[in-house]
Symmetry: C2
Subunit: 463 residues, 2 copies
């Protein structure tokens, strides 16, 4: 067998295996939001902070500080390449060309990541990114992908070659079983939202290629811009909590000509100046979905759809449909996008509930695979509303029960990176799930007083 001597020598030289190798290796919505910020909120000083919601896992003891610093420093050395900028400028997104202003693309040419502050406390990483919003915002996905992949690598330390081989064989079998559960479900579609909590870049790359090959018409694209570019897929995603969080904090500091409660709609007003069509997706849960819908101005019903992120998804979906009907709108033209900790069972049940009509005598729990959707006594393909799914962690990081020695070293962690301060003042998210609130306790109380807690509850947070 011929040896590739150069490769072998290079392997032996091995020093550093960069996790983020392109600034496009992030979620597409970051670019849409970045242009939003760049237009009107460029210089707002904010801090993003890394939080491990799975606090029982001491992530700080698993990952060597020097290695984490090297990975973060490497991201700071990256620049957008000419080809990447040409692709961003020239590609169609959600059917639209020229979504990004030429001046924004020119600005990206000189973009570089700002510094970070890293400390170690009680076995956890204390990791903050402070600076102007238009730079710090980009750390969210890079930091999360890096920490997740370093945790993967740490868990590999005690596994030999055969164990790694069977570990991936099992994960592939699991992935394929999921694919088989969805193959052939009429009208179903979903998107990969798994960048931030992926097992590794190369695994997400594998998953995306497998889905593209195996589920045409069902797999609609990926939130990962680099993978979308490489594999000629749709880049997907719209906006996130950081927009209302920062605007609300600015209002609280009297730096916005707008009431705090109004900022959640002010975000939409500003957003629709730049974007239209399928990009008009409301994220309603920053301060609670129930109050958001109840108090929303009528023009909000013109928006294309709702992304459900922290409420029990079946409940939230019904709430959105009822709201549309109460405002005299037909849900059939609207879109429900589910994106919170989904696995294949959730996707199938939610699709049964919203993507058609479940027939009398059956409930969503009776749906487990394609065959259930082919029986007209059980289900009719009469969509109540357009439905889609943003499938994240359990698509790109489901290695549960794959460890050959049955260790729990690869259970998904709930790692997040959220805006924590605006102009030195705490930023807050309430969310529909009490356990997913972020911010200082006093400030959370203030927001809860203001927005109320209608429709909020405690749900388990898996990822």
């Amino acid at each position: 067998m011929l040896i590739n001597h150069a490769k072998r020598a290079d392997d032996a030289n091995y020093k550093f295996d960069a996790i983020i190798r392109s600034l496009l290796d992030t979620d597409f919505y970051k670019f849409l939001m970045l242009q939003f910020i760049w237009k009107d909120f460029k210089d707002v000083p904010v801090t993003f902070s890394f939080i491990n919601r799975t606090s029982s896992i001491k992530i700080g003891t698993m990952i060597d500080e020097e290695i984490l610093r090297k990975q973060l420093d490497h991201v700071r050395s990256l620049r957008f390449t000419e080809s990447e900028l040409i692709w961003l400028a020239g590609n169609k997104f959600y059917g639209y060309r020229d979504i990004f202003a030429p001046e924004f693309i020119e600005w990206l040419r000189f973009f570089e990541m700002p510094p970070y502050e890293l400390e170690h406390q009680d076995g956890q990483w204390v990791l903050h990114f402070s600076g102007d919003w238009v730079h710090t915002s980009m750390w969210e996905i890079y930091a999360l992908s890096i920490i997740n992949e370093l945790r993967t690598r740490a868990a590999f330390q005690n596994m030999n070659e055969f164990e790694l081989d069977i570990f991936y064989a099992r994960a592939k079998s699991k992935l394929w079983d999921k694919i088989d559960r969805l193959r052939g479900i009429r009208g179903l579609n979903f998107t990969d939202f798994g960048t931030r909590r992926r097992h590794s870049f190369l695994w997400q790359d594998y998953v995306v290629q497998a889905l593209k090959a195996q589920l045409p018409g069902i797999f609609m694209g990926t939130s990962n811009v680099l993978l979308a570019m490489r594999h000629d897929l749709e880049a997907k995603g719209t906006n996130a909590h950081e927009l209302p969080m920062v605007l609300a904090a600015l209002s609280r500091l009297n730096m916005m000509p707008c009431d705090l409660k109004e900022t959640q709609y002010e975000v939409l007003r500003i957003w629709q100046k730049s974007y239209g069509g399928a990009l008009l997706m409301m994220l309603s849960d920053t301060w609670g979905t129930t109050q958001f819908l109840r108090d929303a101005p009528d023009w909000a019903t013109d928006w294309t759809g709702l992304r459900v992120d922290s409420k029990d998804p079946a409940t939230a979906g019904e709430e959105y449909i009822t709201w549309l009907q109460s405002r005299g709108r037909d849900p059939k033209g609207k879109l429900l996008l589910f994106s919170d900790g989904l696995d294949v069972d959730d996707i199938i049940r939610l699709y049964a509930q919203f993507g058609g009509e479940i027939q009398p005598g059956f409930s969503p729990q009776d749906f487990t695979g394609p065959e259930d959707f082919l029986n007209p006594k059980k289900w009719l393909h009469k969509p109540r509303i357009r439905v889609s799914f943003g499938w994240g962690t359990l698509l790109t990081n489901d290695f549960r029960d794959c460890h050959p020695r049955k260790l729990q070293a690869f259970e998904p962690l709930s790692l997040i990176c959220k805006v924590s301060e605006v102009c030195g003042h705490p930023a807050v998210k309430l969310s529909d799930n009490y356990l997913k609130a972020t911010g200082s306790q006093e400030e959370i109380e203030f927001y809860r007083m203001l927005f109320g807690t209608d429709g909020m509850s405690n749900l388990p947070v898996l990822v």
Copy 2:
């Protein structure tokens, strides 16, 4: 990424991928039998014939004649290498050195495979190997491995890269689940007997390496001589049906100074002139185990053990123990080797039954994994007899349910290659299972009249 240009060019040059690349890529018992034949029966003219017992599968239509000929011709071009002969001569087998006479090793130096006759009939291959026994005998394993692997390759034709990837991932997961079922069962041991019906050489190589790494103390070695040499494992196996079959046919032709019924013991008499200890394993089912044990001379109870190959294994094991006791021998020093179509469930149940004492209220069916052997209310590690397992097809070729499109293209086939003629006269095997008898129908009837059919039955033949 650096490309290995030489490899890429070589891949593009791809013409022929040899299946058998060494004359050691065969079962060890072939060498023990070859020396037996070489000493006393060198020039006996025999024919070995290939038979597809799974006649519903038209193996002749799946495999291109030219490709089959190329593979068989390639085996004819092989010679034992110097290193291989040194290993055969210098290695310990079953604890013994110098098992092979120096003259035999010298004779092997000039060994080459004899011609074959290949025809195509009703969708099946008609494949005969005629010549002196000491050469034709060696075709059995090479021919079977070649046809099995060509069938594998044929089934790959319509699978794309992702499908192949998931196919192997699933097979690895299955293999690992089997390993996990056996890990930690006290006193258990087994051997790979899967050369002839393997999926491919490289897969058997993978399986053997996985077992060596994962089941130390339980995985005792392989029947494959090349893999034993490469991976420093024990080469295992003793003798097969061809010995009594040929000697019986010679007796029927009055070419042996021995009654036909006596030839089954004459084989043992000649064998023990060359071999001793653990190599004294009786294969009792050529004409039926019940008559073999009943009529056996008392010195046969000195032999180390019995290999069970075609009878219901639990029944055959009890029969052997009863026989030993009736002849005043203690079974505890003897060895039961099960070798017929085993899978992990059979191994666990048979080990429960013979490798210890099942406690009142339980039966072999209640044993499924290691935990069952740790409960002293269920099982005591007091071996009734020494037990071992020769695990074949379902170790090295279990790809059932691995096909991503659920095709049945990889179900194991029951392919055999048996001595069919001796000096132009039909050779016969009756076996304990009516369905596994081989030979002309008239001749089978004659042998059944002579040996009787005590203890024979119909059992499903999976592999």
